[in-house]
């Protein structure tokens, strides 16, 4: 066998094995998960810019929380939800994350090298309405971790549970999603927002395999007829 043929054979074998090897490298995150009561909503201390502080001070929890309109205030809010499930489906070119709360479907494309110039929210609700506070996400795998980068967030609040941390259009978040040795899902998120945050913010939530299946949440604005 000549050197050229050997090289060609090696290339063919490598090409044939690539999907198998890639699959081996990807973590299995699939399943229906619910928040682990022993580790959730662990946030570092938020340090605000003057603008961030101004937005915190002007926040009125009785009227400003987008949850009243069945809209997540931000990415952290979706992950922080205690009463509902999160389902993860991994496909070759995308990861689908379904948040039972507000019937949110988030599509994280894995085959993109960057974000579009005009952001389209990666998250929609059951009606197909875009959820711009959740931003535009792309993802990739780093060893056994799914990494998701999200930009293009509409102004809102990273979370509104226990604390309300404002976010601007300049927010960039990196989620690191992985399974630990006890078959629990861990989601670490780093947030950088030069308009509202004077220092990076970090959060961690952990999830267990849920005892319940996914349901249709069917959110109804609360209180009825009141717009936040």
């Amino acid at each position: 066998m000549t050197v050229g043929v050997s090289r060609l054979a090696a290339l063919l074998i490598a090409a044939a094995m690539y999907p198998w090897c890639a699959a081996l490298a990807e973590p299995d995150l699939e399943g229906i998960w619910s928040i682990d009561p022993s580790l959730f909503r662990q946030y570092s201390d938020a340090q605000y810019t003057d603008e961030g502080r101004r937005r915190v001070d002007s926040y009125n929890p009785s009227t400003d929380d987008p949850s009243y309109r069945c809209v997540p205030s931000g990415l952290g809010r979706a992950w922080d939800e205690p009463d509902t499930n999160v389902e993860i489906d991994q496909m070759e070119d995308r990861v689908i994350i379904r948040y039972e709360m507000f019937d949110l479907v988030r599509t994280v494309m894995l085959d993109r090298r960057g974000h579009p110039l005009v952001f389209e929210p990666s998250t929609v609700n059951i009606e197909g309405d875009p959820m711009p506070t959740m931003g535009h996400s792309i993802g990739w795998y780093e060893d056994d971790v799914l990494v998701i980068e999200t930009v293009g967030h509409a102004p809102g609040y990273i979370t509104t549970l226990l604390r309300y941390i404002p976010q601007s259009e300049a927010l960039r978040s990196i989620e690191r999603v992985y399974r630990d040795e006890q078959d629990r899902l861990v989601v670490d998120i780093g947030y950088v927002d030069p308009i509202t945050l004077a220092a990076p913010l970090e959060s961690r939530n952990r999830y267990l395999r849920s005892d319940f299946g996914m349901t249709v949440y069917g959110c109804i604005p609360d209180p009825p007829g009141e717009e936040a």
Partner: protein, 134 residues
């Protein structure tokens, strides 16, 4: 700001800072104080929905007028998963209700209700059992 308002703000801050305080949907800690009151009245406009089950409690005040209080409970999905019996409360039922005062006027967070037969109705978040045991 009155002493009463100061107390409410302080209580709210303390509650908000408590690790692991149970919250859902809109933040309970940020919308309700820890101050509990008990009212006697009739249930109307009961809605078993997400993100919050609600009803209006019609309460006769001291002057013979009827006040309406909006009472908020957990999400329907949370109640279902704890095995809550939705037949325990219904429109027209007269109950004794204990709830946490909201920052909005005539707004209460459901704590417990005593039915006409003396039965006590409570709810619990899936997380609350953990907090109780800590």
């Amino acid at each position: 700001m009155s002493v009463w308002t100061h107390r409410r703000v302080l209580l709210a801050i303390l509650w908000a800072c408590a690790p692991g305080a149970p919250q859902a949907h809109h933040s309970v800690a940020l919308n309700f104080t820890d101050d509990e009151i008990t009212l006697h009245g009739a249930i109307t406009s009961l809605r078993w929905v997400n993100p919050h089950c609600t009803f209006v409690l019609q309460v006769e005040n001291g002057t013979g007028e009827t006040e309406e209080w909006l009472v908020e409970m957990l999400a329907r999905i949370a109640l279902e998963r704890q095995g809550f019996d939705f037949d325990l409360l219904h429109d027209g039922m007269v109950i004794q209700l204990t709830g946490r005062l909201g920052y909005r006027e005539n707004n209460l967070r459901f704590v417990e209700a005593v039915r006409p037969d003396g039965g006590i109705v409570r709810e619990r978040s899936p997380l609350q059992e953990v907090f109780r045991s800590q």
